[in-house]
């Protein structure tokens, strides 16, 4: 789930919870407030009555009677004035039941004892509790719906605001993480944001990318320098061995030994050359200005390599159906790439096996498929076959595990995608998918 959705969902749910609590508590609040209000009203009325009694005498109410009582038509309020029986002075407000004309009702009653005309009286002013809580339910409903509407409104606002707030994070993810291709561009533009956390995240990512770039750069530099430095001693050794071989005094036995020495040296040379080639490709020291078709490349490779096919009695067929010209490529590197792939198809093939090369053109995608009937690659080895110095356990044939590393570098240099499908004992199919921009026309 997206962060903005999560945030909005969380905020909305918590708001909803608060609303529910509020709405449920509303009747109690209303009761409390209305009882306070009622108490106040009762006190006001008590004051008014006492004032009138003071001004006009208690008889104004009693009208010659022992006691006085009056209530409203629906018995919601009443007032009563009676001689006090108890010597205790009362001044309380309490909720109690009273029977008025056979109806038992709950009242909020203010009782007050006072002296007037030499006698003690109890004054009761009351209001029915049913009147007090009468708005509570509709109020509850109203509050609930009004708050729900408000909630909906805030959800919309929340969504908009979080979307806006999280925008920089989205930009960081898409620009710095998802759409980054290694090696990263030397200069990374910081994402504009006023949120410090995002600034920090973005800054850290840029720093990290710089560090990775630097480490990669160092490795490339090291490979290039080390290979380059190794060339001189190899050169000296080779010249020395060659001169020794020229020496007529050297016996056949020594000559053979020298020959073996030379072969070992050549192996070293080959490795160093391959490493240098990879580092030159990675350092972009090759131009990409050639226009070339794959078919003649394959024909040239066959000329170079046919003796190896003959030796293993492997049949080869090339089937090119599409007249596609590639542009902005390096012909030598593509030659090397296909050479290595076909060479592998021979090297890891079975005697009497076959190799087929064909092309495919599907909606802007031009690809060349190289299929062999070789020993295949175990599935667990597939992810690492393009790594340097990696060799299948199954392969008893030679090789330094650099052929495919070179292929990978060349492919990367031309934005070529390589798909490998393989079944042990049945063969391997490598599909070379050219980038759209490499296909001319």
């Amino acid at each position: 789930m997206k962060l903005s959705t999560k945030l909005t969902l969380f905020v909305s749910l918590s708001k909803l919870a608060i609303i529910l609590v509020f709405v449920l508590a509303l009747p109690f609040a209303v009761d409390y407030i209305s009882s306070r209000y009622t108490d106040n009203v009762l006190r006001q009325q008590k004051k008014k009555v006492l004032r009138e009694i003071k001004e006009k005498g208690v008889d104004y109410y009693l009208d010659g009677q022992e006691s006085y009582g009056s209530y409203t038509l629906l018995r919601e309020e009443f007032i009563a004035l009676e001689p006090a029986e108890s010597p205790v002075n009362l001044d309380t407000i309490a909720t109690a039941k009273r029977i008025i004309e056979q109806d038992t009702l709950r009242y909020r009653i203010l009782s007050h004892t006072f002296n007037a005309g030499g006698k003690r009286y109890v004054l009761e002013v009351a209001r029915a509790t049913s009147v007090m809580g009468q708005y509570s339910r509709p109020l509850q409903y109203f509050a609930f719906y009004a708050l729900l509407a408000l909630l909906a409104l805030t959800v919309v606002v929340d969504l908009m605001v979080t979307h806006k707030l999280i925008q920089p994070l989205k930009a960081i993810i898409s620009q710095k993480l998802v759409n980054q291709k290694f090696p990263f561009a030397a200069r990374q533009e910081p994402i504009e944001t006023s949120t410090e956390d995002f600034q920090y995240l973005d800054h850290s990512l840029i720093l990290l990318m710089d560090q990775i770039n630097e480490a990669f750069e160092k490795e490339r530099e090291f490979t290039a320098n080390a290979s380059h430095e190794l060339m001189t001693p190899i050169s000296i050794l080779q010249s020395k061995i060659e001169n020794l071989m020229e020496n007529t005094e050297v016996t056949d036995h020594v000559h053979q030994k020298l020959n073996e020495l030379m072969r070992t040296l050549n192996r070293l040379k080959k490795i160093v050359n391959s490493l240098l080639l990879i580092s030159r490709i990675d350092n972009e020291q090759f131009s990409r200005n050639d226009e070339v078709s794959v078919k003649p490349l394959i024909t040239d490779i066959m000329e170079e390599i046919s003796h190896r096919l003959e030796e293993k009695q492997i049949s080869f067929s090339a089937d090119f159906k599409h007249k596609i010209e590639l542009q902005n490529v390096n012909a030598d590197l593509l030659f090397q790439m296909f050479y290595n792939l076909i060479n592998n198809a021979i090297k890891y093939n079975k005697p009497g096996g076959s190799i087929t090369v064909r092309d495919e053109y599907k909606v802007d995608n031009y690809s060349v498929v190289i299929k062999d009937t070789g020993i295949g690659i175990p599935e667990e080895d597939l992810p690492s076959i393009f790594n340097r110095f990696k060799k299948s356990n199954l392969s008893e044939a030679g090789g330094y595990g650099l052929g495919l590393a070179i292929v990978k570098s060349i492919a990367g240099y031309h934005h070529i995608k390589l798909d490998v499908a393989s079944a042990v004992g049945q063969g391997t199919t490598i599909t070379v998918v050219f980038a759209e921009e490499s296909v001319k026309g």
């Binding site: 001189t232 050169s235 060659e242 020959n259 050549n266 192996r267 050359n273 030679g398």
Partner: protein, 224 residues
Amino acid sequence: MKALLIEDEKTLAYEIEAFLKKAFYICDLAHNARQGFEKLEDTQYDFVLLDLGLPDRDGFVLLEKGKKAHPETAFIIITARGNVDDRVRGLNMGADDYLTKPFSLLELEARMQAISRRKSGINTQLIDLGEFKVDIQKRMVSYGDVDIDLTRKEFDVLSYLLLHKNRVLTRLQLSEHIWGSFADDDFDSNYIDVHIKNLRKKLVAHAGVEWLETVRGVGYRIRK
């Protein structure tokens, strides 16, 4: 033939010098650009073998000035710098060839001979080989009036052996010359043997090829 070798790596320079002397070249040595300039002022050379990475000056400077002063002299660049730009730049500046270290001394000699042939201006240079005649320039082998149809690789093997006649060439040296950087990477291969076998078969149909010798465990030799 006079050659000047400008190479700062002394051990390597001595080896190349020894080889060239054996191949009947008169060879002078310079270990830096300054010495190189001095030698070039004194002597007219046929060949200048020039290392690009010299301690005092870049080899390209020497190439530019040297070529201007001695347009007839063949300049061969020998360098560990293998990148395409340097190669193109060197050849554009008038270098006659460009060899990347490490190279085979035999390859160096072959290149020097090729330059000599080119400069001598002789178009047809027929070399006798037993009862056959070999035209290196036209890449043809004939027996009397009959042209023998050889593949490119077969001719390459034959001509390289012929160029280094009376010398045992290892399979490795042969395959490196023929396939260059695409030389077999599994070294127990017998691809060269296959080519020699085919070559012999084609030639033997016309006349004996006892001059083409197999040296057990090492390689092949043309004895002449």
